[in-house]
Amino acid sequence: MPFNVMIVDDAAMMRLYIASFIKTLPDFKVIAQAANGQEALDKLSTVADVDLILLDIEMPVMDGLEFLRHAKLKTRAKICMLSSVAVSGSAHAAKARELGADGVVAKPSGTVSHDLMEKTGDELARTMRTLCAA
């Protein structure tokens, strides 16, 4: 049984890149997507059995950190921040860890976003597997 993934990112193109990447991983399946934290919170109450949430930080309406604060109360799903500002040891990454992010991965920023698989693929897949296995 593959692990169920929810992607939360305000950029439709990035959601597409991430979903395409996850399609290459046989042990994961995207079952929901949301464009901001509020939408993701709403979906969490209707979509059952989410195992892993891949979450952007900078989003309108409700950002990833605020979502994390709320979602950690009501879901057992592992939450992995996947954001261009979550560079190792940075203030954003530290805040995400403080609020309970189970994993943090820095994705390429700007117009190099389409390099997701090349730049971040291995690390993201490894992190996803580690979190779901825990």
Binding site: N36, S90, G103
Partner: protein, 873 residues
């Protein structure tokens, strides 16, 4: 609750396009705003009881959501305002359709308010409560968080009982299982009602614990989960008079020193890489406890740094790697600094957190350093990037920016509002992907409900060229505009502080005097001169020169002799000059080495006051005040060794002070040192007892290469002898060779060097054939080999170095005496700490590593010659 699909179909306003959409769905971000004046309803639905009920449900739900938004308003005012307006707008739309004008007016007043603070929302909630009471007879809820408050009311008392059970458990009173289960069930029921799944799970773990430690760990987990609820609803928690966050932080602050000690041990284990999974998880757990402790005292930088380190270590855990030297250094620095900060707080002083800021900067830059890149902050400085671009540059962006600077490009920030214009977005992205401009990174900018982007880009174009290019893409200049041009400045060193006072302070901290800088300059000049002279000598071919002289003299030695003498004399003179320079260089380096060691030396008494204050505070907390006295404060030690010793003594004091009624009231600590070791003697009048904490102290001492011996004193009390090898001291040593290995023997310990006649070497059959050496008519000493003796060595070695320490002597056979020199004693680390008869290692002239021999250890097992007449003849 069934969704009002029928009502939605009936009342769908102009912004609703699907009958499946309900009023309770928030409009999508990109959805156009609802029209200002919807068409009037065909009839007033408010008179219909069925529709009134449905509207009542919607109003209740909306009020609850607005209450929750108000509770968390301050955490993100912009997002809260946006969400509140969406909720209010949805309810207003329904109110208009229902013909409830008073509702519609209140909501419109709120939506038209230009005040972006939380007050208008609070006013709206009061207004909605009154309207609900008037329209439906609903009693007014409490002013804020009426829905959330009961949760904390429900958990307050069970939580207090669970804490009391925990305290009792530590004092030997096992909690009554039925009573404990009842309290846990009360918390679980409250959590299940609010769907707080993690609180529920954390509470469920408590009854399964069997030891006080397990109980406490489970209790802390519960506090952590409850603190998460409190973070979302702080007002509700405050109203109920319970704060799990404060309870958690208070406990962590109280136990921070033992947590730091465990953290240090875990870091050491992590470096060895034996059980990475266990140790990384433990590191994460302990670091979180330190984070909470920092929160108790409001030390934000330390709290943030602890989380940064969790992040850095977690990523290594995912990769299955051990921490590298730089990361381990930062983590160790963090532990030491936080310990000092908490020490200062314990003594009622204001802690200096400047070094934490520096560590945080190091941690933030680690990923760049590891990749061999300039750091993000270096790029931020060079480009003068505005605040929104700080700490967001990824390694790829830093690389792209560095290359653009090297290529001499200019930098620009372009604001793009392209979310709603796909063709413009595509054209802009194509332009960014062309040769004209390079995108470095972009950040998101939220303006009301609009999502904009600030792009940092580099280009060979000037300001006018960029404006022209953007105008070609967006002629009206409404969606694309250049906001700033940035000019890279010259690179500055990573560590150069901008503030001259800070630079001075940094210099003072490092302890580098002007004289030392001059000495380093002289050493560099001497080394350069030696290098130049060696190069000249290497270029000369002495044989060619000699042959040329012989050839010009017709191979007649007598004719060539004068010239040949001149050639060889010149060559010899240059070698002598080289030797003189080298001697001078050695002298300069020795002086510098001594001064450096001097700078790192501190009088032992510098740790007296912190130790005394700590013991006093700690013993008071345990309701059994202890007094402390010291001796030996005038001795000096290397500051790292001193710090390690302070930590060991403090942990030993903690172990003793936690003995309850048997805790000491008097503690005396004295220090002694010789050429090789420092001895700290800890004496107290408490009950002699072995505890697990003293095992930790023993482990820490062993890690320092030292030994710990504990004896019970007559009556009551204990004496603990802690002996630790000296480190970072300059030693006058005799370098000797044994089996190809270099050893350094402290000159002060050498009694004599002898080359005895064969008949002076004696084998004593009564002592299992042990070899002895007669060094005087009335004195014989034991022979101790530095390496395993082999049969072929018998009789080969005839030089003995006789060492004396503590009134005892031994003779050490050596292959050669290399010479005398000053060496810097470095401590043994890792497996080397187990090597017998050695105190450390030293780097020798010529680059060899020498093992520094401990005269004390070698002589320790030998009979005291003064007190043993059988050896004195």
């Amino acid at each position: 609750m069934p969704r009002p699909i029928a009502l939605a179909a009936l009342l769908a306003g102009p912004c609703r396009t699907s009958s499946a959409v309900t009023f309770t769905d928030a409009p999508a971000a990109a959805e156009p705003k609802p029209a200002a004046a919807p068409p009037a309803p065909a009839r007033n639905l408010s008179a219909d009881p069925a529709y009134r009920d449905i509207f009542k449900g919607m109003a209740t739900e909306c009020t609850a959501k607005l209450t929750a938004i108000l509770a968390g308003f301050d955490t993100d005012p912009a997002a809260s305002l946006s969400r509140a307006r969406k909720e209010a707008d949805s309810l207003r739309h329904a109110a208009r359709q229902m013909g409830l004008d008073d509702w519609s007016e209140s909501l419109t007043t709120y939506l038209h308010s230009t005040d972006e603070q939380s007050e208008p929302l609070a006013a709206l909630l009061l207004s909605l409560a009154e309207l609900a009471e008037r329209s439906f007879g609903t009693p007014k809820p409490a002013p804020a968080q009426a829905k959330a408050q009961p949760f904390f009311d429900l958990v307050r008392e069970p939580l207090a009982d669970i804490a009391a059970f925990g305290t009792g458990f530590f004092c030997g009173e096992t909690p009554d299982p039925a009573a404990l289960a009842a309290r846990v069930e009360a918390i679980r029921a409250a959590a299940q009602a609010s769907r707080y799944v993690r609180v529920d799970e954390a509470a469920a773990r408590i009854p399964a614990t069997t030891t006080p430690q397990e109980y406490h760990a489970a209790e802390l987990r519960l506090y952590e989960e409850l603190a998460g609820v409190e973070a979302v609803m702080p007002d509700a928690a405050r109203a109920s008079g319970v704060s799990p966050r404060e309870m958690l932080q208070g406990w962590c602050a109280e136990h921070v020193f033992s947590t730091l000690s465990e953290l240090e041990a875990t870091l050491e284990r992590l470096k060895s890489g034996h059980d990475l999974d266990t140790d990384y998880l433990r590191f994460d757990r302990l670091m979180r406890l330190v984070h909470h402790a920092c929160g108790h005292h409001g030390i934000e930088t330390a709290g943030q740094l602890s989380m940064s380190l969790i992040d850095l270590f977690s990523r290594l855990h995912t990769r299955g790697q051990t921490p590298d030297a730089i990361l381990a250094h930062v983590a160790r620095g963090f532990i030491d600094t936080v310990e000092i900060v908490f020490d200062a707080i314990t003594q009622g002083q204001t802690p200096d957190t400047a070094s934490l800021e520096k560590l945080f900067e190091e941690a933030s830059n680690l990923c760049f350093v590891q990749d061999g890149l300039v750091t993000a902050s270096a790029i931020e400085r060079r480009l003068g990037l505005p605040r929104e671009f700080h700490r967001v540059l990824s390694p790829e962006s830093v690389r792209a920016a560095s290359e653009a600077i090297e290529d001499g490009l200019r930098f620009f920030i372009v604001r793009a509002d392209i979310n709603n214009d796909e063709s413009l977005a595509e054209a802009f992205i194509n332009w960014l992907s062309s040769d004209v401009a390079r995108s470095i990174t972009n950040v998101t900018v939220f303006q009301g409900e609009n999502t904009l982007f600030d792009f940092l880009l580099a280009s060979a174009l000037d300001e006018a060229g960029i404006s022209e290019s953007l105008a070609a893409l967006d002629p009206a200049a409404r969606n694309l505009r250049m906001t700033r041009m940035l000019v890279p400045t010259e690179a500055t060193p990573e560590t150069a502080p901008a503030d001259p006072d800070a630079a001075f302070a940094q210099g003072q901290q490092a302890g580098v005097s002007a004289e030392m800088v001059e000495q380093i300059g002289e050493i560099a000049a001497s080394q350069s001169m030696i290098s130049h002279m060696l190069a000249e000598l290497a270029e000369d071919d002495l044989f060619d020169s000699a042959e040329a002289i012989m050839r010009s003299a017709g191979h007649d030695w007598k004719r060539a002799r004068t010239q040949m003498r001149g050639l060889l004399t010149g060559y010899t003179t240059r070698i002598q000059e080289l030797a003189q320079l080298e001697t001078q260089l050695v002298g300069q380096i020795t002086r510098l080495q001594e001064e450096t060691v001097e700078i790192r030396s501190r009088r032992i008494e510098t740790i007296f006051r912190p130790l005394q204050a700590f013991i006093q505070t700690y013993s008071r907390r345990n309701r059994r005040e202890a007094t402390t006295s010291f001796a030996g404060g005038e001795l000096t030690l290397d500051l790292t060794l001193l710090e390690n010793l302070r930590r060991v003594l403090r942990n030993l004091a903690v172990a003793r002070l936690e003995l309850g009624p048997g805790a000491p009231r008097k503690i005396h600590i004295s220090f002694h040192r010789d050429e090789e070791r420092v001895l700290a003697v800890f004496e107290d009048d408490g009950t002699p007892a072995e505890t697990s904490a003293s095992d930790d102290v023993r482990t820490a001492v062993t890690r320092l290469g030292g030994t710990l011996r504990q004896v019970a004193l007559p009556g009551t009390g204990i004496r603990v002898h802690i002996s630790v090898p000296l480190a970072m001291v300059v030693l006058e040593g005799m370098v000797v060779g044994v089996d190809g290995v270099r050893y350094v023997v402290p000159v002060d310990a050498i009694r004599m060097i002898v080359q005895p006649e064969p008949d002076r070497r004696i084998r004593v059959s009564a002592a299992e054939g042990r070899e002895m050496l007669r060094i005087a008519e009335n004195e014989i000493v034991t022979v101790r080999n530095l390496s395993r003796p082999r049969a072929e060595d018998a009789g080969r070695r005839n030089v003995y170095v006789v060492l004396g320490a503590q009134g005892r002597s031994v003779a050490v056979p050596v292959d050669e005496l290399v010479g005398q020199q000053l060496v810097l004693l470095r401590p043994l680390k890792g497996v080397l700490t187990g090597l017998p008869n050695l105190t450390g290692i030293a780097l020798l002239a010529g680059g060899d590593v020498g093992m520094v021999v401990s005269a004390n250890m070698l002589c320790a097992t030998q009979p005291n010659h003064a007190g043993n007449p059988s050896l004195r003849m």
